[in-house]
Structures are given as C-alpha cells and as structure tokens.
C-alpha cells in the first residue's frame, strides 16, 4: 500500500478545508481500504469523515433524512425504514455481510466502486482505472457485467443494492462542496461510462455527501428481489426494486416504479417499463410487455446474455407478487 497521511475531520468545513489534490474521503473503508491494498486506489491523504455529525436518521416532513455516516446496519434496522420503506431495508440487508454492514456508511455505499475483475487487477488494462488503457472485459470475463447503457470503453456495473432501492424511491443526495451546496437526485448521481468511465458519478473533487433524503413512501406495495450465485454475501447478477400501485376497482396500474441492479454502470431506473405499465391492466401479459419494452435496448455481450431473460423474469415475478 502506498504511504498516505491520515486525518480525522470533526465537521464538513474541516473536511472541505483539508481536501487537496490526491485526497480521498474515508467512510467505513470496506471498499476503499481493500482498493488501496490492491493498489487500485492510491490516495496521498485520507480525510476520515465517519465522525462528522451525520450519523442520525430523522423525519424530514413526511419523508426521511438519512445522514451520510449512518452505518448500513443501522439504516436497515431503523424502525421508520423497516415500516415505511421496507424495500430499502431489504435492499440494504441483501448486501454484503453483517460485519461489512456494521462498518459501511450510507454515502460510502453509494460511492463504492465496481467489482469488475479487471478494475480490481492492476496488472491488467482498465479504462476506468487507467483511462485509454483498454477494456479486457469486453473480449474477456464479463459474465457479471452490464447489458444496458455500457460503452465501448467500459462494461462495468454499479454493485450497490441500496442504490437500486433509492433509485426506485426517488431519493435526493445532499452534497456540500468547496463552492456551494447542491442536491443531486438518484438516478442522476451515477453516470453512464461513455468515453469517461473513470468518472462513476457527477460529483466533482472535494464534494462531500452529507445526507440522503427520501420523499414520502410512494403508494402501493414494494419489494426488492436479488438473484446471485449463492444465497448470501454475493453481489447481484440482477436485482429489481419495484413499487406497484394498483387500482383495485379496475385492476389497472395506477403507478409503478422499477429499478434494476447488476445490469448497468448506474442503478437503472426502468422508465420505459414504467411508462408501458401506467394505466395498463395489472396482468402477467402486461408485465412481460413492459419488461420487454425496457430490455429492447439491452446490448448483452456473448457471456452475459443470460441477464436479459433473467431481468425480464425477475421484473415480471416481482410485479406479480405485488398485485394486491
């Protein structure tokens, strides 16, 4: 591991003041420390932001404000999250292990890096790690990588479960920075790889996430389902966060939210599927039609084409379970 300096910031102002080129903010460290050990992340200076006063979950009007430093386990165990945003609790609980969730923070979960094997292997080229060096995943090991929104430069996926639920809920990310404060929506925080896969998010150097706010829970029933290679402690091959609001008099879909994980460089909000379903009968045929409308733009690679029917079936099954 490259030598670095370490400092613990007491508040956001101190963290921002200490930030200089080569600095990274340290949250729970469950991804960053590993990447430093692998030589993928090479900061000169770590500013520890886990002691900033952002470790509470509070009511925010009819919504919820989740501090950036709230640990994943505390988020999933919070009564308001369990009762009002069960999809979010389930997404967080489906990620990582008990130990990792105790350490990992809310903001760190959003900003974790892809688990693409080439990104994590410094002996191999990777456009995300070393721009313009190439992408060996496209001709190589891409079984777990993207089918939607990828580019010729990068087919990495975003690994978070939590972010998929937040994308379906329409969460807002509160950011403070050297110039000003701003609010970035999810989806919107993460970006597609395009020609700049080294940039995972729209955040600029020095910007610091302070909180995530959730609007009031959307009407209807919700669920988070995740398919992975083993029953626990594995990243998603495909996951889906879905909210379905059905008018029971007419059995038609009043509104719905669908977000997919494991398929793209971002938590993928399935807006085409949502549009296809609004006002449509709440039936399996319509769910299939909506899922296929979304996946019509999928561009699978030779060894991850299985994700297209997997995503389709997962969307359909999850929606079927949400019919009242």
């Amino acid at each position: 591991m490259k030598l670095f300096e370490y400092a613990r910031a007491a508040d956001a102002r101190e963290a921002l003041e200490r930030f200089r080129p080569g600095t990274m903010y340290l949250g729970g460290g469950t991804n960053l420390v590993d990447l430093m050990r692998l030589g993928v992340a090479r900061p000169d200076f770590l500013v520890d932001v886990t002691r900033l006063p952002y470790d509470t979950i509070d009511a925010d009007g009819d919504g919820l404000r989740i501090g950036a430093a709230v640990r994943n386990s505390d988020l999933a165990a919070h009564p308001a999250v369990r009762e009002r945003y069960p999809m979010l609790a389930r997404a967080v609980l489906s990620g990582a292990s008990g130990q990792v969730r105790n350490m990992a923070t809310t903001a760190g979960n959003l900003l974790q890096r892809t688990r693409c094997p080439y990104f994590q292997d410094v002996s191999r080229p990777c456009n995300k790690r070393r721009p313009a060096s190439g992408c060996p995943a496209i001709p190589g090991d891409h079984e777990n990588l993207a089918i939607l929104g990828h580019s010729e430069q990068c087919v990495a996926t975003h690994p978070s479960d939590m972010a998929v639920a937040l994308a379906a809920l329409g969460a807002q990310v509160h950011v403070t920075g050297p110039a000003s404060d701003r609010v970035v929506p999810i989806p919107g925080l993460h970006r597609l790889p395009g020609a700049e896969p080294e940039r995972d998010t729209v955040l600029t150097p020095g910007e610091l996430i302070t909180a995530i706010t959730l609007p009031p829970p959307p009407p209807g029933r919700s669920h988070y389902r995740k398919v992975r290679e083993r029953a626990s402690f594995a990243f998603a091959l495909v996951s889906v966060a879905a909210v379905l609001d059905v008018d029971e008099a007419s059995d038609t879909v009043r509104d719905c939210r669908i977000a997919l994980g494991g398929v793209a460089h971002v938590p993928w909000r399935a807006e085409r599927a949502e549009a296809a379903l609004r006002g449509a009968p709440a039936t399996e045929e319509e769910f299939v039609r909506a899922a296929e409308a979304e996946l019509a733009e999928a561009r699978p690679l030779p060894r991850n084409a299985y994700k297209v029917p997997l995503a389709r079936n997962l969307i359909v099954r999850t929606l079927q379970e949400l019919i009242p």
């Binding site: 370490y6 469950t30 420390v33 590993d34 009762e83 292990s97 008990g98 130990q99 105790n102 402690f233």
Partner: protein, 166 residues
Amino acid sequence: MAEMTLRVNGSVRELDVDPRTSLLDLLRERLGLTGTKKGCDHGQCGACTVLLDGRRANACLALAVACDGSEVTTVEGLGGAADGDEPHPLQTAFVERDAFQCGYCTPGQLCSAAGMLAERGPSAVTADLTDDPPLTPEEIRERMSGNLCRCGAYVNIVAAIQEAAR
C-alpha cells in the same frame, strides 16, 4: 507514524502506528494477539472478525488509525473472567457441538456470533421486516454468512450458536 490509543480486551494501549497498518495486523503483529486470524485480507472470509466498539467488524478492512479511541474485543478477550480463562458460552457450545475441524475460522466465527447475538432487527431472510424474528437455523445461517468455513462445519456451527443463544 500516527499516535493512537486503543482499548484492547480491557487494557488501554498507547501506540505509534504507520497509517497503512490494518487493525488486524496491529492486533497480530504489534500486540501479539494472534487469535484473530488473517484469511483473505479482503473482508470476504470473516476470519479476522473482532468486536469494534461492541459491534462485529472485519479487522482487515479497518485502518488502525481510524480506530483511534475505540474499544476492541478479540477472541482472547471474549471470555468472562478477569483472567480471560472463563470460556464464553459460545466457546463452550462450540466445543460441545464440535463446531469446527481445523479451527482456523473459529475465532472469527465466535466473535461474529457474539456480535450477531447482540444485534436487533430483521435479516434478509426475515419475512416480516417489522419483526425481531426468533433465531431459527435459517436466520443464523443468513446472519453468519460473512464467516466462511472451508472445513464445512456449518451444521455444527449453527447448532452451537443456537444453543448458546438459549
């Protein structure tokens, strides 16, 4: 080098550490507490699990400097008596249930189970998220999924944890 203070198994230690040092390496190489094991060193196997401020954590993923001011309990400090010779109920149950073969993962299993038993709330397999569900074998397996056992002693590990939880 960075100065730091750590309370380890009840003793306060003043330390001067290279910021690159993991909590795991600090415990094993500096403090001689070799009960905590290094398996994968990537947070994937759980052999390095300790209690950090009372909560289970992967010591390999924690930078020691980031633990300044914290309290750490390792497998050496899990027992109840002042001299540490009194086994923790989990340790007794692991022996009685033959919950290991080679034993390498056992310190991490024990610390993880101790942390897990103190946790509240649902897991990924809990049907009703508003519940604090009973600790069924299915719940134990899910909650202990961060601890791998290459010998495959899982059946007895689950039984031992269930017994200690009673």
